[in-house]
């Protein structure tokens, strides 16, 4: 039986500014900020106070509702500031890095010879657990639930995404160690998918079920792959892990050190020379974006992640915990004369209503952040289905989230989805509805009501 996944529904958004395959070492960041908002649903409980010294890989806070899940510092240094928002909610833990990095030593773990519980405890204690996400709900995995399968997408089809084949080069040993360890944590299979014509180091690993994916975005989304391979049913859990994070897990198992280093792509039409950087989780984006990048004080938006699901960060902001991409595109905060009725050649559309992107499927576009219209009620139907490959009714599930009918949300497939699965429908939405927010709010409601 062929394990290949081929999808037809979707949309490739081709943007200008794909990262060139050269890697530089980013300027060392002086400050690192962990943002609890990166970990959805986590209420942080601090282990250290302001002014404390931490080692790289040493836990800084844990999840209040899941105390076993520890979050570790990416570097050694001093906690200089706990940033708080209203009601003293913690929004950032700022660490000033030491010149000489000291790592917490967790010791090597021979994954082949230890049992699942040891691996689990080890991952939890070392902060590596935070890389494991679960569905339902798209949150950090609950340690007490055993997944029916683990999914790893080695192919990122999102606009301007980092080429995972490129960034994973030479990491076979780490990847293998991580896969072997994770494989012990599930009764089911470890599904790994790679692009159809890829040379991914993931393809050669043992202990995996390999899938080759092809088709337009979102074929690389792990949600699409889960839906096609082994959809989540009520009462089941699956785990998803980004391949770059496998490298960190693998290195920890092999060396005993939590090395927060990862390769990050800098891309987007505002970037002079799009390329790759070696940097660390939570480092300042300013260390990468200005040198041969964007103009100081330019009218650009810096996004940690891709243009569909990433988070906007300020120029003095920090790389997201899970991001392996910084995208910078021009802000579109300008008016356009008769923008609603004149023929459009320089924007992407999946209709042909005097929009002509269907004529030039291979053209790359320089899109801005403009809404291209105003927020409206849902009106058009049938257009979401064209870009939504999951076996779920997108508009119906969005509406069920809006009117908060838990039974209907569950029946329509909320256990299977994550906000990013609705990024494309949000992109093409004529009514400019915030689909990902709607889904996130729906998932949060389910966590709260069903758990």
């Amino acid at each position: 039986m062929s394990n290949d996944i081929k999808i037809k529904k979707g949309l490739d958004i081709k943007l200008k500014g794909v990262a060139e395959k050269t890697t530089e070492r980013a300027v060392l960041s002086n400050f690192y900020t962990l943002r609890p908002d990166d970990f959805h649903g986590v209420t942080p409980k601090l282990i250290f106070k302001e002014g404390a010294k931490v080692k790289a890989g040493e836990p800084v806070f844990f999840d209040k509702s899941n105390e076993a899940v520890k979050f570790v510092s990416p570097v050694s240094g001093e906690i200089v500031e706990i940033e708080r928002a209203a009601k003293r909610r913690i929004v950032g833990i700022k660490i000033q890095a030491d010149k000489e990095q000291i790592y917490q030593d967790y010791g090597k773990l021979n994954v082949a010879s230890v049992d699942a519980d040891t691996i689990k405890a080890h991952l939890l204690a070392t902060g590596c657990w935070t890389f494991i996400k679960q569905r339902p709900y798209d949150v950090i995995a609950k340690p007490d639930l055993s997944p029916k399968a683990i999914f790893i997408s080695g192919y990122d089809s999102a606009p301007l995404a980092a080429d995972l084949d490129y960034v994973l080069q030479g990491k076979e040993a780490e990847l293998q160690a991580a896969i072997t360890a994770l494989g012990k944590l599930t009764q089911g299979k470890v599904h790994v998918s790679v692009g159809k014509d890829s040379s991914s180091p993931l393809a050669g690993l043992s202990g995996i079920t390999l899938h080759k994916v092809s088709g337009p975005h979102p074929c690389g989304n792990v949600g699409t792959q889960i839906n096609k391979i082994d959809p989540v049913n009520k009462g089941e859990t699956v785990w998803t892990i980004a391949p770059q994070d496998l490298v960190i897990i693998g290195e920890l198992l092999l060396t005993g050190k939590f090395n927060a280093e990862r390769i990050v792509a800098l891309a987007g039409s505002s970037v002079k020379k799009p390329r790759y950087f070696v940097t660390k989780i939570a480092s300042e984006v300013a260390t990468m974006v200005y040198d041969n990048g964007v103009e100081q004080n330019g009218n650009d938006r810096i996004i940690s992640g891709n243009v569909l699901s990433g988070k906007q960060v300020a120029p003095n902001g920090y790389l997201g915990y899970y991001s392996n991409l910084i995208t910078i595109i021009p802000e579109g905060n300008d008016y356009e004369l008769f923008g609603w009725n004149k023929p459009v050649f320089d924007k992407i559309s999946n209709t042909r209503a005097l929009t002509f992107s269907w004529l030039t499927p291979n053209k790359t576009y320089d899109l801005t952040t403009n809404m291209n219209g105003e927020h409206r009620n849902f009106v058009l139907t049938g257009n979401y289905e064209e870009v939504f490959p999951l076996d779920i009714y997108p508009m119906q599930i969005l509406k069920s989230c809006l009117y908060q009918d838990l039974d209907e949300m569950e029946a329509l497939g909320m256990f299977e989805v994550a906000p990013e699965d609705f990024a494309l429908t949000e992109f093409i939405c004529v009514s400019k509805q915030p689909h990902q927010q709607i889904i996130r709010a729906g998932l949060d409601l389910m966590i709260q009501e069903i758990g």
Binding site: L367, T369, N370, E426, Q436
Partner: protein, 408 residues
């Protein structure tokens, strides 16, 4: 630059006031707003609701212009002042300035009333309720003058539009929330409130009603017949329009519904632009053909004789139903309304098919009002959520079954 900046300053000035929606509605017609995406995708596709609605209006404009020429043509033809067109669609006898001028001055007020009253109410509601003025009425406002008889008194139209916009749409929460197609709600209101102006053999040709009154008052002028083909057929009268006349639209009827050719082109344009649903259009055509064919078979089998009051319409060749009356117009422009129609792709097949099927059924069985498409669409508007429910349940059941198989 100057205009853009000035408008921007005005927008900032009105922000948060009651006037903001009204000002924004006008502003956004000139300029797409400077809003940027936040909290979701950072880029957005080029389409918005204005562009979508504008596409439908573009597909309607040919019908409107044709309607203007046809209004004049039908008037002068019925009055005996000109001869019937013999050439094809582009015949110079039809596209005359004389025809256009008469139609233009009769139809322009209808368009102005429709937009004036409808948008006026939309603005009012937007200001009171503090939401933006929505674009749905742009299409409704264009549809309304195209689906009424040309001589409709203005006050009736004003009352009907007000009713349709308020009861048909605003009470539900505006565009996207309504259950019934607003344009058809307006037409249905007219039909049930003022049936003498919406049916019969006078209202469809400009001047026919007036002439009848004159004759009643002792004028010796010849009467003008204003009967539609459907009206004739319903009374088993002889119809002397050729098939091509019907297809081109050189026949009496509501202002914009007559030219099947232009409606067909409009429909193809909507399908090409992906704004109109080809599923609904195709299945509605199929539904109409099937029902028409069943009636033909019934007649051929000899169950219905010429003495039956149903004979005229039942014996009409089944595919002729598509080119007479408002069938084509209803299918292309009204049944495809995404808000009131079926929302799932499978549901659209069922929904469209039933519209076509029921339209012809009503047309044949209701001799008092031989135009069924309006009622069929309104009926199916009501049933669309039910159809969708059952379509979605298939997906839901599949999911449940999958879960059970796993645990079993």
């Amino acid at each position: 630059m100057g205009l853009k900046q000035n408008l921007h300053n005005l927008k900032e000035k009105y922000k948060g006031t009651k006037m903001a929606p009204a000002f924004n509605a006008l502003h956004t017609f000139l300029y797409t707003p400077n809003d940027t995406a936040h909290g979701g995708t950072h880029i957005k596709s080029a389409d918005d609701l204005k562009r979508t609605m504008n596409t439908v209006i573009m597909a309607l404009i040919p019908c409107l212009i044709f309607g203007m020429f046809n209004a004049g043509y039908q008037h002068y033809l019925a009055a005996g002042e000109i001869q019937a067109v013999t050439g094809g669609f582009f015949s110079g006898e039809f596209w005359t300035l004389q025809n256009f001028i008469l139609g233009f001055w009769k139809i322009l007020p209808l368009v102005i009333i429709s937009y004036g009253v409808g948008l006026g109410i939309e603005f009012l509601f937007a200001v009171i309720k503090g939401h933006e003025v929505e674009e749905g009425y742009l299409v409704t406002g264009m549809l309304v003058p195209l689906i009424v008889p040309i001589d409709i008194p203005w006050w009736m139209l004003i009352v009907a539009v007000a009713f349709g916009v308020v009861i048909g749409k605003e009470v539900f929460g505006g565009t996207g929330m309504n259950i019934l197609n607003p344009a058809l709600t307006i037409r249905a209101f007219l039909f049930f409130a003022y049936p003498t102006w919406m049916s019969g053999d006078k209202v469809w040709v400009q001047g026919a009603v007036e002439r009848t009154k004159e004759i009643a008052n002792g004028s010796t002028a010849d009467a003008i017949s204003g009967e539609t083909i459907l009206g004739s057929l319903a009374q088993s009268h002889h119809v002397d329009y050729s098939v091509m006349d019907m297809f081109y639209g050189f026949i009496p009827g509501s202002v914009g519904e007559t030219s099947t050719l232009l409606i067909l082109l409009g429909g193809l344009f909507l399908i090409f632009t992906k704004i109109g649903s080809w599923r609904i259009m195709l299945s509605a055509v199929l539904g109409a053909l099937v029902m028409g064919y069943i009636f033909n078979v019934v007649v051929d089998a000899g169950w219905i004789t010429e003495t039956s009051k149903f004979y005229g319409l039942m014996s009409t060749e089944f595919w002729h139903h598509l080119i007479i009356g408002g069938m084509a117009f209803g299918i292309v422009y009204m049944a495809t309304d995404p808000v009131t129609g079926s929302q799932t792709n499978k549901g659209k097949w069922i929904y469209g098919f039933l519209i076509g099927f029921i339209s012809i059924m009503i047309r044949v069985f209701n001799p008092a009002y031989p135009e069924g498409v309006m009622l069929a669409i309104l009926l199916m508007n009501v049933f669309a959520p039910t159809i969708d429910h059952y379509v979605v349940q298939v997906n839901v059941k599949k999911r449940l079954k999958r879960g059970k198989l796993k645990t079993a």
